[in-house]
Amino acid sequence: MATVSASLALSSADLTSNGLVLNTTTNLKKAGLARTNLDNTTGIARKSTTSTDQYTIFHADEFTADKAHKVYLKNTSRVASEFFTVSLDDEVMGRLYAGDFAFFPWSATDGVKAAFTVTFANTWAENDTAVFDGVTITLGSTETTAAMVDLVVAAKYPNFTVVETSASVATFTAKDSNDLSLIEEGAASDDYVVTTAGNGTGTVARTVAPVASANDIKITPSVATTMTLEHAVLYEL
């Protein structure tokens, strides 16, 4: 296990009448009884921004919730007036001015990812199509519902994962809880579009309503000229 120590030194000769000297060090460990060392890191990376839009630096969905993750952020700007507003999703934490850094724990609480099923029935004919998430499945020959499910599950979707729930049912799950799109239900869904010359049907039913994560780490630059944030997460699986 990796040993990572994090130290903070706060010092001032004139902030208070007797000066300030505060030094603290901790070895970063995992949550829970074992308390073994944290052993994963994103590495220190940099993000340059060129607008005053809000940027998501870390998606909570990509980390295990309620662990002992630690986040490091630093504003590399040398212009005193330039700052990043750091937010925990919609909650503003504070401003990182030029040269400032932050180091804090992060629970990475997940949201709820949307899910729906498609139940295939009857017989699918040659050239029938199923279109979803920018992916089109076109049949080369007549297929059973089971074969149709196999084809649907074998496809790669940019924003959803899909598994076979039964011989006639495929279950789609959003990759990101912040994808709040509600897939239209029924056999004539405008979102999961089935076109058939035969009697094949694909009926959509929503199974999980999405809830956006409220725990993404976001930054908003104060200026539209180039600013650079240095960042890292030390985390556990």
Partner: protein
């Protein structure tokens, strides 16, 4: 004006390309070269029983849009798994500070910061550098 320096050091020899990084910053008022000149001091608190929503930064006590910094540490001896849950505003969970863990976070005076202790007999400390 006072000069207050904060230095973060992360040290490991076990990640490839590891070693040490050290970053220092001088705590300054928002958008200026003037040093932060107010400090709450470091409070140390013993919490005999688990408690929720203990105020560390009450946003209403500070001016908005400032370059404050808050320091919080779970100083409970490292003999158990008691953690300090750090929350923003209306109980939006930021993260958990396990025994010995500390944090250093900007605060702009618009969001409350609270902690909850997960067990009895916990210690924690905190201090706020601010502009008033």
């Amino acid at each position: 004006m006072p000069t207050t320096t904060a230095t973060l050091t992360l040290n490991t020899s076990e990640f490839s390309g590891g070693g040490s990084i050290s970053k220092s910053t001088t705590l300054r008022k928002a958008g200026t070269a003037t040093g932060i000149d107010q400090f709450t001091g470091v409070s140390r608190v013993y919490q005999a029983t688990a408690a929720n929503d203990i105020s560390v930064v009450a946003a209403g006590s500070y001016a908005d849009a400032q370059a404050g910094k808050v320091y919080i540490k779970n100083s409970t001896p490292d003999t158990n798994t008691a953690y300090l849950l750090v929350e923003m505003a209306s109980n939006v969970i930021l993260g958990r500070l396990y025994p010995g863990d500390w944090m250093f976070l900007p605060t702009d005076g618009t969001t409350d910061i609270k902690v909850s202790t997960s067990a009895a007999n916990m210690y924690y400390e905190f201090g706020v550098f601010h502009e008033g």
